[in-house]
Amino acid sequence: MKLYNVKLLTITCEILAQKNIIEILKNHEITGYTTYEVDGNGARGLRGQGFKNEKNVKVEVIMREEKLSDIVEEISRTLFANFAIVLYVSDIDVVRTEKF
């Protein structure tokens, strides 16, 4: 089965920043993503205890390389300063590139 190389962008951030991220994705015409709640620890301390609003969320986006740089740049610029957030990019192979 032929597989095609694309990128997977994974963002782990506080749950209240999820809206901002999905907004940014939308501005770059990306509507496919997967999200789930996680706990975590980092520079801004332990997250996931206490109120639900203080949990983290992971947002995973399969996308073509072309859009990646702009999106990473916009997230870094608008969210890194004020939110608990970490992002990374990995190489993955998919069956149907036309979906992304």
Partner: protein, 361 residues
């Protein structure tokens, strides 16, 4: 019964004891935790119960006499928010963002505090006006909207000012820091008004008003009789969360700690007196005072994190939940009750301030 006695007897109610228990459980690093689904559901349940109760009361008593107290509450809430800002910015030397965030956290209201207040009154055998639930609902977004509006104004001014100096394209750095503040007010307004707390509260008030005492019969056991038991369970979790944050109180600093105790006391007592002057009942005046005294620690982060992302949530959540909430339900509530009792046994508003001076100061 004097204040100290009342504080003591209040301290020994299940609600307060389970809250303190939660704090202790967190301090000894127990793994005790109310599952997330339960602690997310309980505020919805509590607000539904408060709303239904308020709506049914309003059906009995009418709601014409609600208008003035509501407008006064809104006015006071706005005034207090501005006052908080001045104190925090001038005396406390907090930055604009933290000042506005804290100002509105304390200008806003706490639904959990309100629940505890209702239970406290029930325990004292005193009732309160049903329309206070409606004031709770209306007051929720008021302080936030003011604070966000003012933040945005300030930030816009700053941007303009800075642009004069640079007039280059290289202002990106400044903009990064203040980008978040440019949140459109309309969006925050929508978010505040459609926030789950307001929606369930208003909805339940309307439904309570429609169904009245009769229609309530079949659900009374769930939405009335189980109320205090449900608060107790919720207070365990609130205690745990407050306990986990106790270490953060050091970061909060002495100024904010003092603010978190003095400000609610001031706001609350003003509230009791004004409510009494407007003719609210003994219990109603206490609840009115509590509305103004309370700080928001559930709704606040959800709104402020989007609207003023530069503000540190560790400041406003910690002071509201870790200091003001326990102070309000343990100490201030009995104080306000005593004051309200005193001014309500007086012969009317003329003697009002006499009483206060004689008995309280």
């Amino acid at each position: 019964m004097d204040i100290l006695q009342l504080i003591q007897s209040n301290l020994l109610t299940p609600i307060i004891l389970f809250f303190l228990f939660g704090i202790i459980a967190a301090r000894i690093k127990s793994d005790l935790k109310i599952p997330e689904a339960i602690s997310e559901f309980l505020p919805i349940y509590l607000l539904a119960a408060i709303g239904l109760h308020g709506g049914i009361e309003m059906r009995n008593t009418g709601f014409e006499n609600m208008l003035i107290p509501m407008l006064v509450a809104i006015g006071l809430s706005l005034l207090f928010t501005l006052n908080h800002y001045q104190i925090l910015r001038r005396l406390g030397k907090f930055n604009i963002f933290d000042s506005y965030a804290l100002a509105s956290t304390y200008g806003a209201v706490g639904a959990v505090t309100f629940s505890v207040g209702l239970s406290f009154l029930k325990n004292q055998g005193v009732s309160s006006e049903g329309f206070l639930a409606a004031i709770l609902a209306v007051l929720e977004p008021v302080a936030f909207i003011l604070a966000i509006f003012l933040t945005n104004m300030t930030v816009s001014k700053q941007i303009k000012a800075k642009k004069k100096y640079f007039t280059s394209d290289d202002t990106s750095d400044i903009e990064i820091g203040i980008q978040g503040a440019k949140t459109k007010l309309s969006q925050v307004l929508h978010e505040s008004i459609t926030g789950k707390a307001i929606v369930i509260l208003l909805g339940s008030i309307v439904i309570g008003y429609i169904i009245g005492e009769d229609g309530f019969g079949s659900i009374k056991i769930v939405f009335d009789e189980m109320f205090t038991g449900a608060i107790v369970i919720f207070m365990i979790e609130m205690g745990i969360i407050a306990g986990q944050r106790l270490d953060d109180i050091k970061k909060v600093g002495i100024f904010l700690t003092a603010f978190a105790v003095i400000m609610p006391t001031f706001n609350g007592i003003i509230g009791v007196l004004v409510a009494t002057a407007m003719g609210l009942s003994l219990g109603g005046a206490v609840m009115f005072g509590l509305l103004l005294a309370s700080a928001s620690f559930i709704a606040a982060p959800a709104v402020l994190r989007h609207a003023i992302p530069q503000a540190k949530p560790s400041l406003y959540i910690t002071s509201a939940l870790g200091i003001t909430f326990p102070y309000n339900i343990i100490v201030l509530l009995p104080i306000m009750f005593t004051i309200s009792s005193i001014v309500h046994t007086g012969e009317g508003s003329i003697d009002l301030f006499d009483y206060i001076i004689k008995d309280w100061i």
